[in-house]
């Protein structure tokens, strides 16, 4: 076994860290959009509005049933052939849209399960004191559902950070794209991939700390 090229590894760290903001930006933007869309989809799934429900079911089925890479290629290279307007979309925008659509489908199911998991008595009690449906959702049901859904949603966010590595196929040089180029230019595959793995790992570990804080604060109301 040959010795590791430590100089190369140390030199690669600042280069890759330079791409970290872009990776985090795509994941964060995707997360915010997916969370909003996921909530809307979940609300619809709970309310079961006729016709719209069939569309939402089809949406969730498609975006859960096809790989993210296929969706990205379809959206970025395929659709512009039939809809030239879409040519103006940049790789970063396409990646965020792809992440949003893909992960909102998963999140919708988690949020729906969490909402339906809130005890029936809570719904009845809210109704008994004369709350409107929106008040009931906002004040009683969603805060309780959020507590249940939070760990799963953070997991999706972690998955999303790692999924941004697919954006290189859309011409966005993010952290993984920069790593692949560094590896191909130096032929030091092991060193390059170890460095990027450790960076992803540290980022996700840091996020786990945030996750524990969120869970703690969401649980506050339920612990005595």
């Amino acid at each position: 076994m040959r010795a590791l090229d430590l100089d190369f590894m140390l030199g690669l760290v600042p280069i890759l860290l330079g791409y970290l903001p872009l990776t985090l930006f795509m994941a964060a933007a995707g997360m915010v959009c997916a969370l909003i869309l996921g909530c809307l989809l979940a609300m619809e799934r709970v309310a079961r509005i006729p016709v719209l429900d069939a569309v939402v079911v089809l949406f969730i089925s498609f975006f859960r049933g096809t790989p993210l890479l296929v969706q990205l290629f379809l959206f970025y290279y395929g659709l512009p052939q039939v809809m030239p307007v879409l040519r103006g979309i940049t790789g970063v925008e396409a990646a965020i849209i792809g992440l949003t659509l893909h992960f909102s489908a998963y999140m919708a199911e988690s949020i729906r399960a969490a909402v339906l998991g809130v005890d029936r008595s809570q719904w009845e009690a809210a109704e008994a004191v004369g709350m409107t449906r929106i008040q009931m959702m906002g004040r009683i049901i969603l805060p309780q559902a959020a507590r249940v859904a939070a760990p799963t949603l953070v997991n999706y966010f972690i998955d999303m950070i790692k999924s941004t590595s697919l954006a290189f196929t859309l011409g966005v040089t993010e952290m993984m794209g920069a790593t692949q180029k560094a590896a191909a230019g130096s032929f030091l595959y092991f060193e390059a991939f170890i460095v990027v793995a450790v960076i992803y790992w540290i980022v996700v570990e840091a996020l786990s700390v945030v996750q524990r804080r969120i869970e703690f604060s969401l649980n506050k109301a339920f612990t005595r």
């Binding site: 052939q81 196929t169 011409g171 040089t173 692949q180 230019g185 032929f187 595959y189």
Partner: protein, 249 residues
């Protein structure tokens, strides 16, 4: 007067896409020594070549790097103007895209792990072997065109064919001769050339059908660069050989 000005502005805006002053060039950034990254700097034969083309046309050149498999799709979708990644002219591609004249003439080369070059001596000894090629590259077609193609286990890769051959996961890879020789000379991987190059390939820049004017301008620049020796100099710089002239000259 004002009317005339408005009209001129409107005409200018209409004409703008036709005289775009930026040439958007797609490349993988992972094809040593043509396009590769060291110290986070994109460099190589293709980078020098396209920068020189841009300088001669008075155009800015913007390089867009992406996975090789996305390049042709990006060209087709109008996201880039051309691909500088040693794209070989093939009948299928010519039906779809407009090519400039060839700027690199080369051959397909079989490369094996060091020590196996006595066993595998060229394309004819690939029967019953596994061979790596880049996904979407013409080397896959060259292999499939061999009379005994159904006896070859052809594996297409997104990247890193050199590494998998060095690791022994496949028996060989096929790439152009010039970059193969450079990879062997420059990389720490235990690789060796197996036999002689087996098929002449001509590499050029592809453009969309609706970009004939741009293609013609780039083609003129290439003619001039060939004539004054600039192209040969770029080749010597990166490949220690001049691969920019037809082999039968």
């Amino acid at each position: 007067m004002l009317k005339a000005l408005t009209l001129a502005t409107a005409l200018g805006a209409l004409a703008a896409p036709a005289m775009a002053d930026t040439l958007r060039v797609g490349m993988s950034g992972g094809y040593f020594p043509f396009t590769f990254t060291r110290d986070d700097t994109l460099q190589g034969f293709e980078v020098d070549f396209l920068n020189e083309v841009g300088a001669r046309l008075g155009m800015d050149v913007s390089f867009v790097t992406m996975s090789f498999s996305g390049l042709i799709g990006a060209l087709d979708a109008g996201r880039i103007d051309t691909v500088a990644n040693q794209i070989t002219i093939t009948p299928e591609r010519e039906a779809k895209f407009l090519f400039t004249q060839p700027y690199v003439y080369d051959g397909a080369q079989v490369v094996v792990r060091s020590g196996n070059e006595d066993e595998i001596t060229g394309p004819e000894s690939l029967k019953g072997r596994s061979v790596a090629v880049s996904l979407g590259s013409n080397f896959e077609q060259l292999l499939r065109a061999l009379p005994y193609a159904d006896e070859i286990d052809i594996r297409t890769y997104e990247s890193n064919i050199e590494q998998d051959t060095a690791l022994g996961r496949v028996d060989a890879f096929v790439m152009d001769r010039v970059s193969s020789a450079q990879v062997i000379a420059e990389s720490p991987l235990p690789l060796a050339l197996a036999g002689q190059p087996f098929s002449e390939i001509r590499n050029a820049l592809p453009f969309r059908q609706d970009a004939e004017a741009l293609r013609d301008r780039v083609d003129e620049a290439i003619t001039a660069m060939k004539a004054d020796g600039t192209l040969s100099a770029i080749s010597e710089k990166w490949l220690d050989a001049d691969v920019t002239q037809p082999l039968d000259d």
